[in-house]
Amino acid sequence: MHPALQGLVTIIIGVGGCVGYFVLSNYLLDRFLLPARAFSAEQTAARRKLGTIFLFAIPSVLIAIGFLMTDALFSVQGFLWLVLAGALILGLWRLNDFVFGSGATTAGRNISRANMIRPWLFLLPAMVALGLYLTYPVFETFRLSFTQRIPGGYEFVGVDNYTQMMSEPKFWEAMRNNMLWLFVVPAMSTAMGLIVAQLTDRISWGNIAKMLIFMPMAISFVGASVIWKLMYDARPAEQDQIGVLNAIWVSFGGEPQQWLTLPIWNSFFLMVVLIWIQTGFAMVILSAALRGIPEETVEAAIVDGAGPFTIFFKIKVPQIMPTIVVVWTTITLTVLKVFDIVFAMTNGQWGTQVLANYMYDKLFRANDWGVGSAAAMVIMLLVTPILVMNVRNARREMK
């Protein structure tokens, strides 16, 4: 089959499967499980019995399948365990109803029960997918970080991977650079996004300016890296410079520089790429937040005698502080995971290594899965608190 056709079929199957799942599961729930009508006491008792038997039958079948498939992929097994646990919980819930429930059921009770179950029907696919592709890998990586590959399998080595990693200067270089990125990029992106949002708000060509600044968001990190590599490009002194930075530098009388090999400076040159991309993101969100500030509070401040700077810093910025924090932390998360830019531009040479690239080096180049997993755990450890903070903040915003 032609690959395009294959893709199309995949999409149709995927979307059709989703639609089918939602329609069918809701249909089953509303038609058979909890129909919107009343049942007499006998009918209810029969339905309870049937439901309980059915729900205990599912785990038994799953356990049987599980036994038959011990050799199968671990992920399929994990999936089975997940469904099994869910089915058992549901079964126990039914059992409780079976033992203690009595009397007739009303239509209202059925409807409210159905509506209690419905959100879970919608959440189930997402929860299963997340469990399979996110939660499970986290635990597996955690396990791998304590193992070492030996011919034909793994052996448990305790914290050896971590101590080995800690003793490597390249790891500390990556840590240091990551911290540098962490301080510079979110701060610069948010600050520039905020300034741009404020400045473009009232001018006639503000929307065009915004569009131009937002455009890098649509470019992949690797694409952006390629563009910026050209900006930093260096040619021998006697040739014309095609890199913008060197062209300017030379026109001021400097020698052409290999910008990406200058220690310390080169890290900042890489950061510029990410700032260039993330400013657009910060600008769009903050611009919306600025528009949400009630105009009357600004006018009240004008009457109170505030100048433009006071209004910006004392009235506007405090009012959008929650949004600024969300933008800041979101960019921080991106920064902690930064990989593509470093990979594509310097590959961590000349002192520009970062954690994600270090992990990639270990995992896929050195095939040292243990240390690679350990590095992954460190990244996760750094990201988690910020993630928690971000989610909390977003929740508070919603209230």
Binding site: P294, E296, A300, V303, G305, I315, P318
Partner: protein, 363 residues
Amino acid sequence: MAGLKLTDVAKSYGDVSVLKDINLDIDAGELIVFVGPSGCGKSTLLRMIAGLERITGGELQIDGQVVNDVPPAQRGIAMVFQSYALYPHMTVYDNMAFALKLAKMSKQEIDDAVRKAADILQLTPYLDRLPKALSGGQRQRVAIGRCIVRDPKVFLFDEPLSNLDAALRVATRLEIAQLKESMPDRTMIYVTHDQVEAMTLASRIVVLANKGISQVGTPLELYEKPRNEFVAQFIGSPAMNLFPGEITATGERTTIRLADDHGDIVSAYPSTAADMGKTVNVGVRPEDMHVSEDGTGYTGTVDVQENLGEVTLLFFVPDAPGKDPVIAKLPGIHRGLKGQTLHMTASPEKVHVFMDGTSLLYR
């Protein structure tokens, strides 16, 4: 202390003229109320006085000085906004202190001013709260407090009570009246939709309509001597009845024959023979109408009767569907008037006569 003088003030947005030829003298210590239909430019005029809206024509003087190009903060004004416009991230104390901090007053002075204002407005227990933890009435008081602390020459209020519920509105209205009394030398300008607010608070009311000032006067002047049909119908509730008619007898008093065979009404308006036969509108307030003994006056059939106890409202059958019915407001209880044909009249002094929309009695 500080009077205002508006000379030919005009406002236009590009080609759209919103206000023009506004001439108004406001004495120090007055409480002026701007009323008018929605969209007539009350807020715009107030915001021009505040300096939030550019004046596109004419001259505005505060305290004898032209302030057209003076920034708001230096005009000696303070403004209460319709939606309070409190700074949501500052406590009540900081909200009130903000302007004083900007004016670089000492900590002690600021503290004194804020606590004094909080005391007047009973806000002392809430000084450390954020605005979101206050009720609507308390927020409104903070907004007023923010003005008081600055001790301005002129207070501007843009529909300050419109976001409050009915009971709170009455209470806050009284508070504003008391506030004004405690500061007799401060000028206040107050925008409202609400007639009762206008009538009870104002020392003078400015009725705005058709891009300009329709009439300026004390509340009772506007009620008793409206200069035109618009003011006549705008002030008072239910609105004044207007009957088209024709002058049929002139002299010391004028008799007008109402159109559509509704009878004759006599006004105290002294007319000359030249007025004979002119078409005019007769205006009579519902509360001035009473049943005539001799069968003269407006003749109509009662369509709907509303018994409110203290008064009885009669709605007469309109001449054409969709036309405003004539309304009479009789004191006390009257039973079983529905469906009857009545003759209603009013004492000649209470009968207004309008020609081309302008009052012939009070020009």
